[in-house]
Amino acid sequence: MRPKPVVRIAGYVLLALAFVGFMVPFLWLLQLSLKTQLDAFAYPPRFIFTPTLQNFVSLWSESEFAKFFLNSLIVSTMTTLVALLLGVPAAYALVRLGSRTGRAILVWILFTRMLPAMVFVIPFFIAYSRFQMIDTLAGLVIANLALDLPVVIWLMRSFFLDLEQSLEEAAFIDGATPFQAFARVSLPLALPGLVATGIFVFILSWNEFIFALVLTRHEAVTAPIAIVNFMKYAGTEWGQLSAGALVVVAPAVLFAIFANRYLAKGLVGGSVKG
């Protein structure tokens, strides 16, 4: 399309407005994290001030934030690994089997994907209370798995469907077992999709809120919940709060910068044909 200049200008304006609107929260957090308490509450808000890194420093040294950050890291990594381990072979098998039960399973997976986490929270809460699994990292991983395993299966299914079966057939002719065909041919071919899915699941579990809120107390608290607690108990420490928030945002930003091609594929995967 070669639209008229009017349209092009409108496009630029829209994108510029969107850019501003989009950046505002980030910039707001950033400037609050670099201000001292005094500056933070100054009204009208000071845009010219001496920045300080004190908030970031006290975040790591004075609070237990480092521990909570580590918890997030552990939970997200473990969830991703287990979800991939269980989900990737399952997705592949589903695609190759294609039976009526296979379809029923797919319907179930789609259905659970659409349920908000809250629906699982109450049964998990009761079960975990009974089995002493509250406030455990393993418990969190399992809970996240409930949300993320369907996602892995659904996404990897669409990636496996994209594969050309001819290469697999060639492997069979060469005497490979079905599993070898999967591991040596299909899996490497589906690697971009695998990476996309893995990153997506990592971010999903990193950001996960409601399970972490309800199923943890002191030991297994993850970074987002640490921020929420901080907000409740030190409500006016906006500087440290913002600093913490920015740190929690870091993994997502890093992934977006370095893996945005994979990410876009993962996010859109399954929504659009082709």
């Binding site: 994108l15 986490a117 049964p123 929420v228």
Partner: protein, 287 residues
Amino acid sequence: MSRVQTYRAMLAPGMIVLALLSLVPLTALVYLSLRSWSLIVPGSNEFVGLGNFVRMLDDGRFWNSLWVSIYYIVVNTLLQLTIGFGLALAFFLDLRGTRWLRVLFLLPMLIPPIVVGLAWRMLFTPSLGGINYFLSTVGIQGPDWLNRPFTALAAITVAAVWEWTPLVMLVLLAGLESLPREPFEAALIDGATFRQTVAHVILPLLKPVILVVAILRIIDSLGILPLIFVMTSGGPSSATESINFYAYESGINFLHISYASSLLVVFIMLMLAFSVTFIRNALKVRA
């Protein structure tokens, strides 16, 4: 092992875990909703059939949460679709110097929702400047957003739209870019204006994708629990409380787990119509 046996073996572990982690909890939820269990009342675990659901009909707070939920579903989704479509079009034009923006726009939905809520909460808090400060520079006296019912709802909508419009934009853009070239070329030959191209070429062709995104967002629109939690805690006076937030308050804070379960069952029922449409659509796309 035969092929089928291998595939079944590959499928089994995932399916067992899936059944354990989704079938069991959901069955438990329905089971709980038929009882009167409240964790703070000892010995209250009795079968009451549809008793909770009857109770709900008289529960003003439930009806309030229903209206709030409908508000979120309709308003948030409509705004996301409109703005998302506009942005997708703008990106589709492939204007010079705008490629890198696409990556940047991914961010709102990648960052933890509570951080989204935190940032917007701070922006809507008058004493910290933010929105009200910018309004004052053009002479408008901004309200105490988060403490008045209507403005609190608006604030949450702003945050939700900020967070999810990028997803709508991404999917619509992918849809736009996968459209065939011929209709555009035909429109060009016919001398169609931009507006005409959008109305008569793009919109009709994009309808299936728009539908899918719309349903996805409708189903997901009540997933803004973290936003509500951080920004308003459902307040002021339950003005921003959706059904699942009410279920959270009821079940986790007040420990009326059976009533909370029944609230969630109602929620699932409400979403069922949309879920069925989406599932049917999604399974049609591939064999």
